[in-house]
Structures are given as structure tokens and as C-alpha cells.
């Protein structure tokens, strides 16, 4: 349900001001994050890549290198947390997909369950945006939705999402942090469960610098057995519904849209309703009939027993029809939705109303005890999942549906199929340049096997150190060769197999040289230089083996002649200098400007753009990260210009002047750039 468009890429956007750049991100998902949706859609958006993933030949290689470069700059700043490292079976519709496992060298991939079983079901994005050019402010963008990081979640499902982009204060404030309710604590619990207690602390600090929007309350669940005392302090799960219920007299009505309904007994349902002063008779559930395609495909699931419980409690079933004969008629969710749209609804929305007071909860939580918790015999609340939702004051319930004429027509399942219990519940792997460290949590016993993969090389994992509870295992396997680096660890325990990405823990100077597998190593340095120049507003296109220079055929935007009185913002990728320099007389074929001087100005414009950014970074707070990146870029630019001078000199020694001057000036400037 969206206030914007309805296309599958609606979620793939940002409200951050243009010009701002990503400094850190946390992305959570239930399913293992699909590398392809990340590489081909989400990361190009978030990293503001200039190249398109869909290109061919050199363009494709430039894209991969640009992505690789940005990921390396953000090494360990991007974190993905999922429920399991278990891979989904390949989608037959995917065709031949690229192999993108290398992104996990830089992106920290965490799974929950390091201490006890847990399900990560929340779908939260926290995006830290660095200062845009104009206002010098940083931003925190939050997205709470029902979308996992999979292709099917984006392309095959309808999702609900809430998004906010909030300007950050330069300093933290405890009061400000408190206004975020359970969210900071949720992040802490998530980190602990992922076995990396402090990993998400920087995001908590960002919350302390951001004002939570008025009328917004976070509702979260974290796995565990929570006492009443704990819940009073941090109301997880169903306890949180009390905090968001509208105040006033009379009972609270609740409307529920959820594709998956758990098994509810009458008692459990009553207790759930009691939490927010509701009752089963004031509960409305949106549901589909047996003939609905979502029922036939097994997308929406409602146990017969739960339907009986609901009907017994005089709950209302609202009929979400499928208008098979009116495929072009607008659907129930959005004016742009059509019944012919074959996406199924994965959104989870709850509305609580009392009188004219309304609350709308957009969440990851299905209507199940696993999500909301069930009361133990000891009065504690047992929650299995991490869930996160956001409650909006006075937001309207989006659906207007008729009551089911006959509940017997409702789509039901006789019983829920429980997935087989995971035997490996948590795992992680990293490489320090010498050893691959592997840790996991699995069933007791000696059935755990492991293999480290890297390029075509495989190494068995053995010599496990077993923890006191016989479940935690760890080992270190020697792997000193960076060609190829280790990419994943396959762990097998009985029928359970997980593939754990290997995070690259080497120092940056050792990491920097690695190349994405698809990229031709013979031209990688030239392409990297090119991308670096491009990032600072310049380009020097070099022909690759058998490839057309990038931008061939595009109109040259040559407002950058060697002479004066011209603007500076015109150094565009696509200026094919090689072609321009073909004239025999040492001049550009299509211009009267002097090539060596044109080239010098172009190279020096890269220096200018670097200097502008360096000046800005010096004048804004919280810019240590930017300064670090700029310093390193400066070092890389110096080396790149030295190489460029050699390349330029191939067509005449005068052409090397510009690159030489650029390298020389950057060396000077670097001496005055603050150490970070």
C-alpha cells in the first residue's frame, strides 16, 4: 500500500537530497539477501553509481568495477542481517545470472541465532547519507516494510512500506534517542543475536542525532522469553499493542491484513485482543476465497482451526475478491493496481480504531504467535521472531471490502506445514589474509562438515573447537593466497546445508587489489583509473581490447577548450579524446584548441573537483569518513595520473603534461590534507 506509484521499483528509491552519498546502511531481511537484487537494483541506487548494470562489454565491466570500488570505500559500513544463510533454490525465471558473491567481501553479512534460535523477520533499512553539497547536512533515511531482499519480494509481491528521511543533528542527545521508543533496543538485540554485539551501535548513535517524527511509534518483537517486568520496560510483541492503542472509551476494533495467519486458539486470541482492549468480535480479517489465485498458489495461508476460532469469536471476515473477469479494473490496494497484476500481497497491516481515533501499523509481523508472542504457563511472553513495524497516528485503513457472504468459501489449509528444523542455526566466516575463521552454531554431535570455496579452489574445514554447550563450533583454516581469495564456506549438517559468505578482514591496502570475477584483469587498472577520474568529474577514455571506447558516438560536450571564458561543469564521460587526437599535426581533429593544453585542463579539473570536496569536508562536522575516503582517493588519483601520463605519452610526449601536472599538484595538496 503506497502513497506513491505502484510499480515494482517503487521501493527502490530514496528521499535523500541529491548529491548526498551513502555512508552506512543496515538492511534486514528474512530470506537470505539475493545478490542479484542487490547488485542490479538496490546498490546502484544507494551508491548512486553512474554506470548501468545492464550494459555489455566494457560498460558492464565498468559497472562492476565502479560497484566494487564503492563497496570497498564502504567496507564494513553496509550490513545485511537475515534469518539464515541458507540459499533459496534458484529461480528458473532468472536465466543466467551473474555471480555476485564477491560483494560479501565488503558487505558484512550477519544472521541471527548466535545464542539461541531466532527468526529475523523484520524488514528495516537504515541509510546514513553524508552531507549533500548544498546544505552540508547529513540524513538518516528509515524504511520499514514487508519486503525481503529477494527478487520475488520486489517483482512478485505487493508490499507495504513506510519511509522517512530525517536531517541529522551534529550532536547526539539521550532525549532524542528516547523518542525512538523500542527501536534502539531492537537494534541492540538484533546485534547480540547476530553474535556481533556492537555492530549496530553506530546506527543507534544515528538515532540519537535524529528527531523521531511526531505521530510515529515503533512496534517491535525480539525473540526470547520476556517477563512482565521486561515487557513493562520494553514492550515487545503483543505488549507493544497496548502502547499504540487509541485512548478513550469503548472497545478497540482491529482490522488485519496478513497473508499468513498462525494457529490461534480461542484463549490465545482473546489474550492477544485483550492487550489493546479489543475482542475477537471486534476483529476483522481481510481474506480471500478458495478460488483466488493466491489461495491456489499457496501464497495466503489460514489454518482451518484458526478460521474456526475466529468465527467462534464472532470475528468478521472481509472478502478480498479476485475479479477474474475484470482484469483491467482497479484492484483493492491502489488505484494503479489491476486484477491482471499477478503479484500477491505480502503486506502486513493492522488498524486499531476506537471512536474516531485511528492507528495504522505497517509491519513485518504476520498475524501469528511466532510474531506477536504467546504466553507461557509462567505468564511470560515467548516470541520467536524479530519483527518491526511502525504505527502511524490517525492514518486511514486503506481497504473497503464487503463481509464474506459465506465463511465456508474462505481459503483455508487443514494444517500448516512446518519447515524442517534447521540443524545449523547460525554461522559466519571471515578472512584476515592468512586464515579463514569459521564459527557456527549447530546441533550437538559430530556430523558437521565444511568446505571453503574460492575461485576453483576448495579446502576442507576441520579441527573444530567445540563450545561448552556442544553447539558452538569454531575453527581457523589457513588460506594465505589472495589469488583467488576465499569466497564462501559451505557447511553441511545432515540434511541441512548453508553457504556462508566470507567477509574480507584484511587491511585496506591488501583488499584494494581484488577484482570482481567477470572483469578482465588486463584492463582493470586502466578502467579503475577511468572510474576514479570520472568520480571527480573527469574522464580519459582508453580503448579496451576489442572494445569501443565508452561513449563512442555520443555527442562530445566540449565546452572545455584550452581557452578561457568557459564554464567548468562540462567534463563529461563520453568525450572521446582518443578520437579527438587523431590529427597528424598534433592537434585535435575536430577542434582548433591545443590538445596538450585541453588535456591538461581536463586532468586538472579532476584536481579542482577533488579540492572542492576536500574543502567542504574540512568545513563540516562528522566528516571523518569522508576525509578518509578523500585522502585515499587522492593517493589513488596521484598513482592514476602517473599511469595516465604514460598512457597519454603514447600519442605524443606533450600530451603527458596534464597528467603529470595533476599528479604533482595532488601530491602537494595531500601534504596539506588532514590525517584521519
Amino acid at each position: 500500500v503506497s502513497s506513491v506509484g505502484f510499480g515494482w521499483e517503487e521501493l527502490l528509491r530514496t528521499d535523500a537530497p541529491s548529491g548526498s552519498s551513502l555512508k552506512a546502511a543496515l538492511l534486514t531481511t528474512y530470506d537470505r539477501a539475493d545478490e542479484r537484487i542487490l547488485v542490479e537494483h538496490l546498490l546502484p541506487l544507494l551508491l548512486k553509481l553512474s554506470r548501468e548494470p545492464g550494459g555489455e562489454g566494457a560498460e558492464r565491466q565498468y559497472f562492476l568495477l565502479e560497484l566494487d570500488r564503492r563497496l570497498k570505500q564502504l567496507h564494513d559500513k553496509l550490513i545485511v542481517v537475515s534469518s539464515t544463510a541458507r540459499e533459496e533454490p534458484p529461480d528458473p525465471d532468472d536465466g543466467e545470472s551473474g555471480s555476485y558473491g564477491w560483494i560479501w567481501r565488503s558487505i558484512r553479512y550477519l544472521t541471527v541465532g548466535s545464542r539461541r534460535k531466532a527468526v529475523q523477520h523484520a524488514k528495516l533499512w537504515l541509510l546514513h547519507w553524508g552531507a549533500a553539497e548544498k546544505d552540508g547536512s547529513e540524513y538518516l533515511e528509515l524504511v520499514v516494510s514487508s519486503a525481503n531482499l529477494t527478487r520475488s519480494a520486489f517483482k512478485g509481491q505487493l508490499q507495504a512500506a513506510w519511509r522517512a528521511c530525517i536531517q541529522l543533528h551534529p550532536q547526539r542527545s539521550a532525549l532524542r534517542l528516547a523518542r525512538w521508543g523500542v527501536l534502539p533496543k531492537f537494534l541492540q538485540e538484533l546485534a547480540v543475536s547476530a553474535g556481533d554485539d556492537d555492530r549496530l551501535a553506530p546506527f543507534v548513535e544515528l538515532l540519537a542525532r535524529a528527531d523521531c517524527s511526531d505521530g510515529v511509534t515503533f512496534v517491535a518483537s525480539v525473540p526470547g522469553i520476556h517477563s512482565g517486568q521486561v515487557l513493562r520496560r520494553t514492550p515487545w510483541g503483543v505488549a507493544a499493542l497496548r502502547t499504540i492503542m487509541p485512548r478513550g472509551r469503548g472497545g478497540v476494533r482491529v482490522s488485519i491484513l496478513s497473508p499468513y495467519i498462525g494457529s490461534w486458539s480461542t484463549d490465545a486470541l482473546n489474550r492477544w485482543c485483550d492487550a489493546f482492549e479489543g475482542s475477537p468480535s471486534r476483529l476483522e480479517l481481510v481474506w480471500i476465497d478458495k478460488n483466488h489465485p493466491w489461495a491456489r498458489a499457496g501464497r495466503w495461508l489460514l489454518p482451518k482451526s484458526t478460521l474456526d476460532t475466529l468465527m467462534g469469536g464472532e470475528a468478521t471476515l472481509r472478502h478480498l475478491r479476485y475479479e477474474s473477469n475484470h482484469s483491467e479494473k482497479p484492484g483493492a490496494f491502489h488505484e494503479e493496481q489491476r486484477w491482471a497484476d499477478d503479484r500477491w500481497c505480502h503486506a502486513k497491516i493492522y488498524a486499531l480504531t476506537r471512536g474516531t481515533s485511528r492507528r495504522l501499523l505497517v509491519t513485518s509481523a504476520n498475524f501469528s504467535a511466532a510474531a506477536w508472542g504467546s504466553e507461557s504457563s509462567g505468564g511470560e511472553l515467548i516470541i520467536e521472531n524479530f519483527e518491526l513495524g511502525v504505527c502511524l497516528d490517525q492514518a486511514a485503513w486503506p481497504l473497503d471490502l464487503e463481509v464474506f457472504e459465506n465463511e465456508k468459501d474462505a481459503a483455508i489449509v487443514s494444517h500448516m506445514l512446518k519447515p524442517s528444523a534447521a540443524l545449523i542455526t547460525w554461522a559466519r566466516a571471515s578472512w584476515d589474509g592468512k586464515n579463514v575463521g569459521v564459527e557456527c552454531r549447530c546441533e550437538a554431535g559430530d556430523k558437521l562438515k565444511g568446505t571453503i570455496h574460492g575461485g576453483g579452489i576448495q579446502k576442507p574445514v576441520s579441527n573444530w573447537t567445540v563450545g561448552a554447550d556442544d553447539r558452538f563450533r569454531s575453527t581457523r583454516v589457513p588460506w594465505a593466497d589472495a589469488e583467488p581469495p576465499p569466497s564462501s564456506v559451505q557447511l553441511i549438517y545432515g540434511h541441512d546445508t548453508v553457504n556462508v559468505p566470507v567477509f574480507d578482514e584484511r587491511p585496506f591496502w591488501e583488499r584494494e587489489g581484488s577484482v570482481p570475477p567477470e572483469v578482465d584483469e588486463n584492463v582493470v587498472q586502466t578502467m579503475r583509473d577511468q572510474l576514479l577520474f570520472e568520480q571527480y568529474g573527469g574522464t580519459v577514455v582508453a580503448e579496451l581490447h576489442g572494445e569501443q571506447p565508452i561513449g563512442e558516438g555520443e555527442e562530445s560536450s566540449d565546452n572545455d577548450p584550452e581557452m578561457d571564458g568557459n564554464s567548468h561543469e562540462d567534463y563529461q564521460p563520453g568525450d572521446d579524446l582518443e578520437e579527438l587526437f587523431e590529427a597528424d599535426d598534433g592537434g585535435r581533429a575536430d577542434s582548433y584548441a591545443v590538445p596538450a593544453l585541453v588535456l591538461a585542463r581536463r586532468h586538472l579539473r579532476v584536481v579542482d573537483n577533488w579540492a572542492v570536496q576536500a574543502r567542504r569536508a574540512a568545513n563540516i562536522g562528522n566528516a571523518q569518513f569522508e576525509q578518509k575516503v578523500l585522502r585515499r582517493d587522492c593517493e589513488l588519483l596521484i598513482e592514476a595520473f602517473q599511469r595516465q601520463a604514460v598512457r597519454d605519452a603514447e600519442k605524443g610526449s606533450a600530451r603527458a603534461i596534464g597528467a603529470k601536472l595533476a599528479a604533482e599538484e595532488l601530491t602537494q595538496r595531500l601534504k596539506h590534507f588532514p590525517e584521519t
Binding site: M563, D564, G587, Y592, D608, A654, E664, R669, H672
Partner: protein, 694 residues
């Protein structure tokens, strides 16, 4: 069109214009050699103008005429004749001439006075008197011709019977004082004669204003239309079909010419083949300059960068940093480096360190690169030419360039020496004998003595002795040789003695030259001080040891007169101040564009200083040589390439070529432009021919 008063002239009063033969004969007798063919055309033109202005021979009376002859065809002669007829016809009419500067104003005065004697013979009905010609701000009275500068138009009233506006293309810009004055005072002049070689290089609005001034409003639409297509040619889409644009260019040029034919008279230099022999043929003079080496280009690139960084606030604004002067010499470059050393102290880090580092590198590189290759190449060529007895003129666009070039040439060209020369006292006596006494009010022994002293100066003596090859050093032989030998070339139009007499006469005509002679300030006479064969008319350099090489712009008359004689410095370096309205052709056929201005009009005007009736090239039957030396690998080279293409089409487009911005030029575009012009050429040349005098 507003009604205009009749001038009340009779065609009989310009009857003499139908008899150029007699006029030429009379003039030649008085020592002013005219070429019959050219005089015939000029007389026909003057007659046509008078007919149109007066409404004779069944023609409508015209408020004015625009005379747009190519440079060098004698527009001043034509206008001077028209001025005399109107002022001296006894109808109590006054003529006012607006000249762009003092130099040109003096030239006008000379031109007007040169017609006095022949007119008295050939047109006795006209009341032609020398004192009818007035210079400067005097009250215009009946029967007089007043010559004033353009600036006069803004200050005083322009009431007169005929207003002649010379070099009208100087009236550029919507709000210049001159332009406004013409706009507001157009009704003050009964008739207007506008002179320009470049009608379509004038801004459209200015051109339309001038047409209005001469009563040619009816041609506005066609002129606008042609201007637009010219604009399309220079700033339009170069991907459009050249055939289409060529067609429009030719069609609209034809329409413009048709509409203008009542108000405009024009002769292109190529339209008058019969006069070619008296004007001289032109040829290219190739001066090869070694291409820039890496160190030289690096110097330019470093200076460009350093100036950018030193520009105050680091905003990298688009002020000029790659100065064109850096591409034609090192002196300005070095001066700028010194300025930057001062400026660096005001910079903040890191720019301060970067600039300091650059300046260090620049200083080191300057030690490595030697003499500027263009200076070296040009000076070698100049030396070769003056060794052959020729004079050479070099044009620069900037004073700094002219100064450096002058100093370099002065230091490298050999001094004039002569063996077994007669003693100065013998020279003195010989010149005293040879030099005719001036008549009338000009007679002044002091002036003459100074002039003879100059003729006896080291340079002039040596120069003259080398021409004479006299058998012995006796006074008698010297006198005889001076009276019989021709200077510099056997085909020279005058003997050495005649040349000296003509020069003396010319100097006496000029107020400033007379002043120089009067106070015996020999050092102000070019060639009097030392033996340097080089002289520059531009701001003097700061170097006191070079002072003698420069004559300031304010008083160039003496220089022009001497350069138009066989005597004095062989090499003249000037800026564009001397590119218009003056003659430099009498003893010089070599012109080097050492530094081009971005304006093709300037280049055409420069060339026009030598390509004139009775040029040295014509009388010696040798070509006029124009050199465009270019330092390959720099912007200097680029500018030359484009300039040559532009000036080729200058006349064809009636001056409608635009200034060059090297940075915005693309060679492909210029080729496309050339092909358009080539396609339209035949039709346009034919149309242009319609504007000839009838």
C-alpha cells in the same frame, strides 16, 4: 522618407570628373603620380555619388550614400573629391568629415590639400583654397571642409551640408557615444556619405542605423535577412545541409544587394582586373616556425594553471588565464611570473604551496627553453629581406608582444654599414644642394637644417651610400648620384633626391613633424639615433636601454612619412593602431602578422596598408608578401589557420565574417563553412558586382 532640401548643384560643377586623363596629367606634373585606371574608377564613383546626392540626371535625390570599396581602392580620394565639389561650388555649403583618430584625420587633411592645385587647373569654376580645409574644433563656415575625430560627434552639433563618416565600422556597439551621436543628430546633416570597407561586419543594428542615416530604411528587411543567414553560417548548426544554406546565402545576398543598390556603391578588389597592375599582386610568404617542444607547452600549461590557482578565492572563475601573449613570446610570460610571486603571498594553503611549486618549476623550465622559436624564425626571415634592400612591417596585437619583438629584432639584425663613405660635412653640403627650398609659409631654415642633419645621421648616410655606389666621395659626385640614382630598386618611382624632397615636404605638412624639426629634436626622427634599423610604434618598454626603439602612438605621422620614404628604419613594428586609414605601401611590400587580432576585419585592414594604388610591389613588379607565421602546437597556430579561411571570404561576404574565438572553433565546422561559401560563391560574386558605380 522625410523630404530633403536640394543641394542646388549643377552637374557642370563636377564636369572635371569626366576627364580623369587631364587630372592625372596635371597631378603628375605637380609631383603627385596618379594611376589613370584607378583615377578613372574613383572619378566615376565620385560622379555617381554626387549625382545621387544632388538628384541629377533624372535620379531621385538621396539623403546619403554608403561607399564600401575594398581596402586600398581609395575611398578617401573619392570622398575628398565629393567634399571639394560640395564645399567649393559656391553655394555656401560646408562639409564635415569624421575620422576615427588623429592619424587618419591628418591623412584626410593631406588628401584634401593634395587636390587643391589640380582642381584649380581642372575645375576652375570651383572655389578651391587651401585654407578651406580646417582641422579640429572650429566653427564650420560656408565653403569649408572641417576634419574632426569621431568623438567630436558626441560633443558638438553636426550641422552641415555633407557629413562624411570615415571608418564607419568603428561605430560598434549600441550605446557608444559615436553611435548615439549619429542617431540623435542625423537630421543635422543635409547629406551623409559613409565610408567603410566592411558593411556586414558592422553590427546589424548599427548598419540599419547607418542606412537610416542615408535614407535607406527600405533596405532594412533585406539587410536583416542577409545578416541572419550570415549568423547562421557562423553560429548556426554546422550539421545542416551546406547546399541549403549556400542557396539561402546567395539568394539573400542577392536580395540585399538589390535593395542596397540605390544607397551603396562598392568595388571589390577582384572586380577591377585592369587596376591590378597598379595595386600589385599578392602572394603568401611562408615563414616556418619550429613546433613547440614539450618544455614550452609545459610552461604554458603551468602558467595557465598557476594563474587559475592564484585567482583570489579559488573559485576558478573563467578569467583569462591562458593569455594569448604566452604563445607568441616570453617577455610577458616572465613578467606575469614575477607578478605571481607577489600574489602568492596572499594565498592560503594549500594553494600557496601549489603555486610556489609551480613557480619554481616554471623558473627552472624557462632556463631550459631558449629564445622563443617564433621570434627566432621571424627575425631570420626579416634579416634575409632587409639584406635584399626591402622594408618590412610587422603587426602585433599587444604592446608587450611588440616590445619584445622590437627588442629582439634590434639586437639581432645587423647594423647598416658602408665603406669609404664621404665625410658628414660633404653629405651636408650635398643634401643642402639637392634639397629644394620649400615655398610659402612653410619656409623655415631651422626645419631644413634639422632635416639635413637627419639625412646626415649614421644610419641614413650609410643607407644612402649603399644605394648610390658613387664612383668617388666628392660632393659633386654625391650630388649627381643623389639626383640620378633610385633608392632601393631600379624601378623605384623617384630618385634619392626626389624621395628626400618629397619626404621633407610631407614632414612639413604635419604639425607634429614640423614641431620635431623645429626644436631640433633629432632623436624623435626615426633613424637619427644610432644605426638601429628597427623602430616600433607602440608603448615603450620599461627597459631604458630600449627607449630609442619606440615612438609612442600619439605622434606617428613622422614615422609614417619616413616609412613611406626609402630612408630610415627598414623594420617597423606596430600595433593595430596603425592598421586603418594610413598608407604604408610606398616602399614596403612585406607584411608579417606576427600576432593576429581575433578580428578578420583587422587582418584585412592590416593587409590593406600595403595593397594600394601605386604600391611598392606594383612599381617594382614584385608581389606583396603577407606572412602568417604560426607556432605549431599552440593556439597561435590555430588562430592563423582559421584566420586565413575567414579572410578569404571577406570580400565575398561584404565584410560579413565574424571574429574568431579559438576556443570555440571546431575545424569540421570551419570546413563546412568553407564549403557553404564555395557553393554560393559564383552567385554571390555576380550579385556583389551590381553595386559598382554607374
Amino acid at each position: 522618407m522625410p523630404t530633403i532640401e536640394s543641394l542646388g548643384l549643377s552637374a557642370n560643377q563636377w564636369q572635371f570628373l569626366s576627364d580623369p586623363e587631364t587630372y592625372v596629367e596635371v597631378s603628375n606634373r605637380s609631383g603627385r603620380n596618379l594611376v589613370l585606371e584607378s583615377t578613372r574608377r574613383q572619378f566615376l564613383t565620385a560622379r555617381d555619388i554626387l549625382t545621387r546626392l544632388n538628384g541629377s540626371h533624372g535620379q531621385d535625390m538621396h539623403r546619403g550614400v554608403l561607399l564600401a570599396d575594398d581596402v586600398g581602392l581609395g575611398k578617401t580620394v573619392v570622398a575628398a573629391l565629393v567634399a571639394w565639389v560640395i564645399a567649393a561650388a559656391g553655394e555656401r555649403r560646408g562639409v564635415r568629415i569624421l575620422a576615427p583618430n588623429d592619424v587618419v584625420a591628418r591623412h584626410w587633411e593631406e588628401e584634401l590639400l593634395s587636390h587643391v592645385d589640380p582642381l584649380r587647373v581642372c575645375a576652375p569654376s570651383l572655389k578651391v583654397r587651401k585654407n578651406s580645409v580646417k582641422r579640429g574644433k572650429v566653427k564650420l563656415s560656408a565653403g569649408t571642409i572641417q576634419v574632426v575625430k569621431h568623438s567630436y560627434a558626441a560633443q558638438d552639433n553636426l550641422n552641415c551640408d555633407l557629413l562624411i563618416v570615415d571608418e564607419a565600422h568603428r561605430a560598434r556597439g549600441e550605446n557608444t557615444a559615436f553611435s548615439n551621436a549619429l542617431k540623435s543628430k542625423k537630421k543635422a546633416a543635409q547629406r551623409v556619405l559613409i565610408l567603410t570597407a566592411t558593411p556586414f561586419s558592422i553590427k546589424l543594428e548599427e548598419l540599419k542605423r547607418m542606412l537610416t542615416l542615408i535614407g535607406g530604411e527600405a533596405a532594412h528587411a533585406q539587410v536583416t535577412s542577409f545578416s541572419r543567414v550570415l549568423n547562421d553560417l557562423y553560429v548556426g548548426d554546422p550539421h545542416q545541409s551546406p547546399e541549403g544554406l549556400a542557396d539561402r546565402l546567395a539568394t539573400r545576398a542577392k536580395a540585399a544587394v538589390d535593395a542596397l543598390s540605390s544607397f551603396v556603391i562598392r568595388h571589390g578588389i577582384d572586380d577591377i582586373p585592369r587596376e591590378q597592375s597598379s595595386i600589385g599582386r599578392c602572394a603568401d610568404w611562408n615563414i616556418a616556425v619550429r613546433p613547440a617542444i614539450v618544455e614550452e607547452l609545459e610552461l604554458i600549461a603551468r602558467m595557465d594553471r598557476t594563474r587559475r590557482l592564484a585567482q583570489d578565492d579559488g573559485s576558478h572563475s573563467s578569467k583569462v588565464t591562458n593569455d594569448p601573449r604566452f604563445h607568441v613570446g616570453w617577455r610577458f610570460f616572465d613578467r606575469e611570473r614575477e607578478h605571481l610571486k607577489d600574489r602568492v603571498l596572499r594565498l592560503n594553503e594549500p594553494e600557496k604551496s601549489v603555486v610556489e611549486n609551480q613557480l619554481k618549476a616554471i623558473t627552472q623550465l624557462r632556463k631550459e627553453v631558449g629564445l622563443h622559436p617564433k621570434m627566432a624564425a621571424v627575425s631570420a626571415e626579416v634579416k634575409a629581406r632587409i639584406d635584399e634592400g626591402e622594408k618590412v612591417i610587422l603587426f602585433c596585437h599587444h604592446h608587450a608582444t611588440a616590445q619584445e619583438l622590437t627588442a629582439h629584432l634590434a639586437s639581432t639584425l645587423p647594423k647598416v654599414t658602408a665603406r669609404r663613405m664621404p665625410a658628414p660635412s660633404i653629405w651636408n653640403k650635398a643634401w643642402d644642394e639637392v634639397l629644394a627650398e620649400p615655398s610659402g609659409e612653410r619656409r623655415d631654415e631651422n626645419l631644413r637644417a634639422t632635416f639635413v642633419k637627419w639625412l646626415c645621421a649614421d644610419l641614413i648616410r650609410a643607407q644612402t651610400w649603399n644605394w648610390l655606389c658613387a664612383p668617388s666621395a666628392s660632393e659633386t659626385n654625391l650630388v649627381k648620384s643623389l639626383q640620378t640614382t633610385r633608392a632601393r630598386h631600379d624601378a623605384a618611382p623617384e630618385t634619392v633626391a626626389e624621395a628626400a624632397n618629397r619626404l621633407y615636404h610631407a614632414l612639413l605638412q604635419s604639425k607634429s613633424s614640423r614641431a620635431v624639426l623645429k626644436v631640433d629634436r633629432l632623436e624623435l626622427l626615426p633613424g637619427a639615433n644610432g644605426t638601429s634599423r628597427v623602430l616600433a610604434v607602440c608603448d615603450a618598454s620599461d627597459n631604458s636601454s630600449e627607449k630609442a626603439l619606440f615612438i609612442h602612438n600619439d605622434q606617428p605621422d613622422t614615422v609614417i612619412s619616413i616609412f613611406n620614404s626609402p630612408f630610415g628604419p627598414d623594420v617597423l613594428i606596430v600595433t593595430d593602431r596603425l592598421s586603418e586609414g594610413i598608407d604604408l605601401h610606398r616602399y614596403c611590400r612585406h607584411l608579417i602578422h606576427y600576432e593576429l587580432s581575433p578580428s578578420p576585419i583587422r587582418t584585412v585592414q592590416r593587409n590593406g596598408r600595403l595593397r594600394r594604388v601605386n604600391s611598392w610591389a606594383a612599381v617594382t613588379d614584385q608581389p606583396i608578401l603577407y606572412a602568417y607565421p604560426a607556432w605549431a602546437g599552440t593556439r597561435d597556430h590555430r588562430l592563423v589557420q582559421i584566420m586565413k579561411k575567414r579572410i578569404d571570404s571577406f570580400s565575398l561576404l561584404l565584410g560579413g565574417v565574424q571574429d574568431i574565438n579559438v576556443s570555440e572553433m571546431a575545424e569540421g565546422d570551419e570546413d563546412w563553412r568553407s564549403s557553404v561559401i564555395q557553393m554560393a560563391k559564383t552567385r554571390m560574386a555576380k550579385a556583389g558586382g551590381q553595386l559598382r558605380a554607374r
